[in-house]
């Protein structure tokens, strides 16, 4: 039972500060993937923290803090993106998907049948894939595709949660996700070829892979 208002505020503040600090890598990482640049990511995290503090009394289940503040942060990004672009996220200049993009599969490029699984090129590829390669591939996605990808792959949201947050029909989430995956895998593939990770190319000189 709460008896002393001052103690409540102090407890709330301590809880809030320690949770924000604990979740900092996740909040900043998500914001960075959404915006693609540090300055915007920092502003979004700061805005999300300010909004979360204001809304804290409405959070009943303190165990849910992580998912709750992640949602606030994502909402800050979406409203900011809308404001800046002055157009809804539902509009894309060219939504139609060229077959090659949608169908692109890293696995098909890498996989060689009849090899034992522990020595396959696709597993070697995953082991040698650098964190920086993945970050670059995310950041290179056009913004609406990136947003869907971040909400599903990083936030771990369902298609319907993603659709609701972005104000999109669920079918559009599915098609953007498929296209985003194709584009991202194609980007990883081209860098893998440059770096000599793929089976087709020999090791490229001058780049350490692991």
């Amino acid at each position: 039972m709460r008896r002393d208002g001052m103690v409540d505020v102090r407890n709330d503040r301590q809880f809030f500060q320690s949770e924000v600090m604990r979740l900092m890598d996740r909040l900043y990482g998500t914001a960075l993937r959404l915006t693609g640049n540090s300055a915007d990511a920092e502003d979004i995290v700061a805005e999300a923290v300010a909004r979360a503090w204001e809304a804290l009394p409405a959070l009943r289940d303190r165990q849910a803090f992580g998912g709750w503040i992640q949602r606030i942060l994502t909402n800050v990004y979406v409203s900011e993106w809308r404001r800046r672009r002055a157009r809804p996220m539902t509009e894309l200049p060219n939504e139609s998907v060229p077959d090659g993009e949608l169908e692109f599969s890293l696995f098909r490029r890498l996989h060689q049948p009849f090899l034992l699984w522990w020595g396959t090129p696709e597993h070697a590829f995953l082991n040698k894939l650098l964190r920086r390669d993945i970050e670059r591939a995310f950041d290179a996605l056009p913004e609406p595709y990136r947003a869907v990808m971040v909400l599903v792959e990083i936030n771990g949201w369902s298609y319907s949660e993603t659709a609701e947050c972005l104000g999109l029909p669920i079918g559009t989430v599915r098609s953007r996700l498929a296209r985003a995956r194709g584009l991202l895998q194609r980007a990883l593939w081209s860098w893998a070829k440059e770096a000599g990770v793929s089976a087709a190319a020999g090791p490229a000189p001058g780049r350490r892979l692991s």
């Binding site: 503040r13 890598d25 990482g29 503090w53 890293l106 996989h111 964190r131 771990g156 369902s158």
Partner: protein, 78 residues
């Protein structure tokens, strides 16, 4: 009742929805069952699952010190 046998094409068409946890229980079970005996589809599914795990890691990044300081200052005023 055991799940309906499905083809590799059906598995591949729904693989990402399966990995994203977007299928109904019965569809999920059909793919689970297929992956138990089809090595090609299992290999593909494992690759995509591991790639998804790597992508999820991109959502964590160490913030610059100035952001930590900014938030500490902001939260001290709460």
């Amino acid at each position: 009742m055991s799940p309906r046998p499905i083809s590799c094409e059906e598995v591949l068409a729904r693989l990402f929805a399966y990995l994203d946890g977007e299928l109904r229980d019965v569809e999920q079970a059909e793919i689970d069952r297929h992956l138990e005996w089809c090595r090609d589809c299992f290999t593909r599914a494992e690759f995509e699952r591991r790639l998804k795990a790597r992508l999820a890691q991109a959502g964590r990044a160490s913030p610059p010190e100035r952001l930590r300081e900014r938030l500490k200052l902001m939260m001290a005023r709460f």
